[in-house]
Symmetry: C2
Subunit: 324 residues, 2 copies
């Protein structure tokens, strides 16, 4: 059997099955692994790999943007647990004909994404690559014990919320791939794709509220990501697709090019907004900007987005089953 | 300027200069980053990347060996700090035409290298690669505060020791690249290259002795690695090259093919034995098997291996300056 038949989630299941579950820790399957410490804190750790040709094309993304994004998508995993980032490690495999100017701009972007959160670079690895740039970032963080917000915590009756508009990043990617003319709206969408903002502050505030139950960041698309929460929590959901927040830039660009904004908002990934569930009374007093898009129901078997007119395969992203 | 002119250590210096030094932690430049915890423990973390075509060729290494080596070289970094490994994260970028059998064998090797130390797999990332296999492992560990053995701790008068014979791994690689016939000796060297044993137990025992001062694992070759200790500690060294331990297999294979065993032992890397310095009285009571190969002197400017007949460029390995 080929990896293309197994698929990404099949591979993850195969890895999970091959290793014993950690005794003291939350392991594979959430935004971060969680290791309890002896002092009432939990250590958080997560890692992400970016490969030239899979995640980015060297001619499309500036080195600054690539550096920013490499740090930001990892910091977003700490945000998704309601934690504080404490450091990152950066592995770089680089072709030897890369210029030092390119590397400096990459490091500038990486440092700029890290700086707002005072996250030091703790270490890493540097090596030659025969051709493609390959980047791996590991991020460490911490949270008070019991504060980390797992995907398995959603409760029946919870409201489902997101911290910002969805679909911008996917539309930005589509604009890049289709080479459309870049006016201010298109550029705003492209910036959302290349320069995502990790919602660290929002994650900390949300996790401080005991009635915020499950939380994750939206990296694969809400169609796929919400399903992870439902599966892990053993619940179902009702989504009001009309309540999914869309930016003005997305609406205008979609209207101009005849794109489907809902398909981008639901099926497209990399928005790096936080998706969370919370008690309906807690929701009324949340100070973090957010949008209610549905509610948690008993476990169900029907399609999650029955009225969106989307084919199931457009919901989320499998690295091994679809090209991008 | 191109990366090939900057070199690996130039790149690392550039990265180090671009980021503020962490406030509470030991950052870039040792085997692991060290983060003090509130409970008298130190967290250790390190990361290593393996790229097809740079670190291995798919036809030369079995997936089991590759999985083993990916875990082992990272565990070795925890050994080098005198720590206990607590978990690993595995990022895999894989071509979609890879077979599931290949992946399973890879995971078997990874699990086999982790099992003796009860190290759980805590998480990771899986993604498609357009062509080359790319692996990144991050390892976490812990040590009692002050137990971590830094490269900067070597003291004048210390003896310089290694935990086992050197050069086997480099000879194994040479045997693979030159396609020599594989008798038992050659196979033993190849196994040392593909299935290195992390010296976790040895590292823990050595670090428990306060008079063991500096420690690191030998990954780039002792010529280059010892220089890191000397630079970090501001000292010099005298090495008795005749005292560098060589295995019988290495001696026999070198004699047969006319290879220089000392050049392989000093300039070749990936032995993953521990290199450490210690007080001469402490050395007499060490229970860990070891070989004394020299002593720490005042800072000096002469060549480290004056009598080995080796050109300076054969001492150690720079990923961006030499092909392999």
């Amino acid at each position: 059997m080929k990896l293309s038949d197994l698929g990404e989630f099949g591979l993850i299941e195969r890895i999970r099955a091959r290793f014993p579950a950690p005794q003291r820790a939350v392991g594979i399957g959430d935004d971060c692994a969680v290791l309890p410490q002896r002092d009432g804190q939990e250590s958080l750790v997560s890692t992400d790999m970016l490969i030239e040709g899979t995640h980015f094309l060297r001619d499309d993304i500036t080195p600054y943007q690539l550096g920013w994004k490499s740090a930001a998508v990892n910091l977003s995993d700490i945000a998704a647990m309601g934690g504080n980032p404490t450091g990152t490690l950066l592995s770089l495999a680089l072709p030897v004909d890369l210029t030092v100017e390119w590397i400096d701009a990459f490091l500038d972007g990486y440092a700029a994404a890290s700086a707002p959160f005072d996250v030091p670079l703790l270490g890493g690895d540097t090596t030659a690559s025969p051709d493609r740039i390959c980047i791996n970032v590991t991020v460490l963080g911490e949270a008070p014990s019991g504060r980390g917000r797992l995907r398995s915590n959603a409760m029946e009756g919870d409201l489902i919320c997101v911290t910002g508009p969805l679909g911008d990043s996917a539309a930005g990617l589509k604009a890049i791939l289709e080479g459309v003319e870049r006016d201010a709206d298109v550029q705003a969408l492209i910036d959302r794709h290349y320069l995502p903002k990790p919602r660290i502050k929002e994650g900390l505030e949300l996790a401080a509220n005991h009635q915020v139950h499950a939380m994750m960041d939206i990296s694969d698309g809400i169609g796929s990501d919400l399903q992870h929460i439902l599966d892990a929590s053993g619940v179902g959901a009702e989504i009001k697709v009309d309540d999914i927040p869309l930016s003005l830039a997305l609406k205008r660009v979609c209207k101009r090019f005849g794109w489907d904004p809902l398909a981008l908002a639901i099926g497209g990934g990399e928005d790096y907004e936080l998706l969370f569930t919370c008690n309906r009374y807690a929701e009324m007093v949340l100070t973090v900007p957010h949008f209610v898009i549905g509610r948690i129901t008993p476990r169900q078997s029907g399609p999650l987005f029955p009225h969106s007119g989307l084919a199931p395969e457009s919901l989320g992203f499998d690295h091994f089953k679809k090209g991008r």
